[in-house]
């Protein structure tokens, strides 16, 4: 989208400088993390160019807490949640978009409620529920409150509604039942939405902290965020070198994925027409 009038070179130059300064400020925490992680503790606050490099911090961080297990837990958690969300939200969105049934509008409003009342604010009660179900300290317990995602239902319903009914009819003509229509017509056409939603969901749940903190007790279920916080909050004091090494380790998958796929990420949002 071009600016209406061409700005004067001075304005453009100023804006370029402004944008770059902001961008550099924005990446400062990550840059610092890199610095502190590859230099010994003594240099974590001392920015001399010729400070010695080391991988010791990563080794120390890896040995100090069972990060391998945490990675596995997080991976399982995120995958489980996304898979469930995709299935559940697709079905629900299809129902809202293409079926007329008693109580549909009321049901939809109730679904929308979850947009504002997220499971995160109901930690006390949800914890009681998990207790009653006997599944405290399990990975599914972390994921269950999030699996029926109002955001997902909303998004997919919106998308399904824009798919022309002619396609629906055409498939029906060929003898497809409702679920087959869903799978053959709606799901493929909504692919950009699925990708965008998937990326948001993975990112959100990889980084979620408070609810997993409350629900998990043991190493077997703890995700990375909780593990990182436990690891970082020693009474002994903060050693930024080791903490940033651990941070980089735990954020690396998402970061690398984003670096590799950022164009797809942005594009899928745009094609999804989310606005």
């Amino acid at each position: 989208m071009n600016p209406v009038n061409q700005s004067s070179p001075l304005t453009t130059a100023l804006e370029t400088v402004g944008a770059w300064v902001l961008a550099i400020l924005w990446t400062l925490p990550l840059t610092y993390a890199l610095w502190a992680a590859i230099h010994p503790s003594a240099y974590s606050a001392d920015f001399v160019i010729d400070a010695p490099l080391t991988v010791e911090n990563f080794v120390k961080a890896w040995n100090a807490a069972p990060f391998a297990r945490y990675f596995l837990n997080t991976f399982l958690l995120v995958t489980m949640i996304l898979a469930a969300q995709l299935v559940l939200c697709t079905l629900a969105a299809y129902a809202f978009a293409r079926f007329d049934f008693y109580g549909r509008d009321v049901a939809f409003i109730l679904v929308l409620l979850q947009l504002m009342i997220m499971p995160d604010v109901l930690i006390v009660e949800n914890y009681k529920t998990m207790s009653a179900l006997g599944i405290v300290d399990t990975i599914p317990a972390i994921g269950l409150p999030y699996m029926a995602s109002a955001f997902g239902i909303f998004l997919l319903r919106q998308t399904f509604k824009t798919i022309p009914r002619e396609l629906d009819d055409a498939a029906r003509v060929e003898g497809a039942g409702p679920l087959q229509v869903l799978l053959k017509v709606y799901v493929p056409l909504a692919k950009p939405i699925y990708i965008a939603y998937g990326l948001v969901s993975i990112s959100y749940h990889w980084n979620n902290f408070l609810w997993p903190l409350i629900v998990t007790n043991s190493v077997n279920t703890r995700p990375l965020t909780v593990g990182l916080q436990i690891f970082a909050s020693s009474d002994q004091g903060i050693d930024w070198s080791v903490i940033t090494a651990a941070t980089l380790m735990t954020s690396a998958p998402l970061l690398i994925a984003f670096l590799l796929f950022q164009r797809q990420f942005v594009q899928s949002f745009m094609r999804a027409g989310i606005r």
Binding site: S41, A42, S44, A45, N63, A64, A65, P66, L72, N73, L76, T79, M80, A83, L86, V87, Y127, M130, S131, G134, V136, D137, T138, I139, P140, L179, Q180, L183, I214, N217, S218, V219, N220, T221, Q229, I230, S233, S234, D235, Q236, G237, I238, D239, W240
Partner: protein, 429 residues
Amino acid sequence: MRYPKMKWLAPIVGAIIMAWTSNVTAADVELSFYYPVAVGGPITKIIDGYAATFEKENPGIKIKAIYAGTYQDTLVKALTAFKSGEPPDIAVLLSTDMFTLIDEDAITPFDGLLKTDTDKAWVKSFYPAFMENSQTGGKTWGIPFQRSTVVMFWNKDAFKAAGLPNKAPDNWDELVADGKKLTKSDASGNVSQWAIEIPSTGFPYWLFQGLTTANDVRLTNSAGTETYFDKPAVVQALQFWVDLSRKDKIQPAGTIEWGTTPKDFFERKTAIMWTSTGNLTNVKNNAPFAFGVAMLPAHHGRGSATGGGNFYLFKKMSDEKRATALKFVKWMTTPERAADWGIATGYVAVRPDAWETPAMKKYVADFPAAAVARDQLKYAVAELSTHDNQRVTKALNDGLQAALTGTKTPEQAMKDAQQEAARILHTYK
């Protein structure tokens, strides 16, 4: 109809089932054991090592050691597990959580299990200072394991540079006098080195007890039902702390972050720091200068609060399990093990005979600073502990922080804190 997405679920479900499965045989007695890690170092490895050794020496018993985070995290974890019906068998929790755990009906005292005379003597073999937070109502609820006190670390190089003799300040007046010499400003009048930092985030009350004990006043009664925050001696102690920043200008203003205080010390931002003896190994490894460890300075009295964690036995255990748990606790607190633990972590070995073991004697000979905390034990007092402990300490902590930031006067801050504490405790009287 085929549902392609289903294919992905199978391995996930399988993995989840695997994660749920335990590998304990039916014949083993399995003890679950929650412990916090409050100091740096490969603590989990050490604990796992102990568990493995115990299992080897005691076949048929399996120890499931679960690393639960800080003391705070571990308490939350243990209580949430207890409330959801699956308590751990043993946990290392703060000695001050004793009343909370009793009120939640979560723990059993050790007394029922200590039948023989040797058992009874065993309880008496720990330092009395540590037992103060471990016994109430005539019963023993906790056994000391990783205990500490506040000690004063001081930068010997900084003292020398300031022209001070090679010893730590011994009382409050000396602290202020030395402090004024140690505080250095640069050309533009900004302070480049402070004399002292007494951290005031996290658990300021614990460090505050180093000041109140030096002023010869207690903060609570031993039943944990009354607090004395607004006694004049307490207010005086707080005034002294506040004055260090405001009047004497030898301490940074505002609240001082607990987690960054050791780093401040290493970076020479402060010449003296008060912190847990659990930081000993950390300071030894990371301080780029000669340092000393000293008892907290005296005033009308001397001393520090004890700190750290005890072993607790949770309810809902069969008698056989309980006997096994006691065995484990005893094993973990033998003199040799207590010495080993103390050397590896910097905690104070919890029984006098641990200090007489050859390993410990050698360690102290090489590193005399390690014995300071032990020597301070004869002046040590119980850590602040009451019913509804978290709430009451929060009231006190808020008051301390309000005074240190200047939002309230020490008198007002302590009056409000006392009011709040009294309100919380009146149902326990």
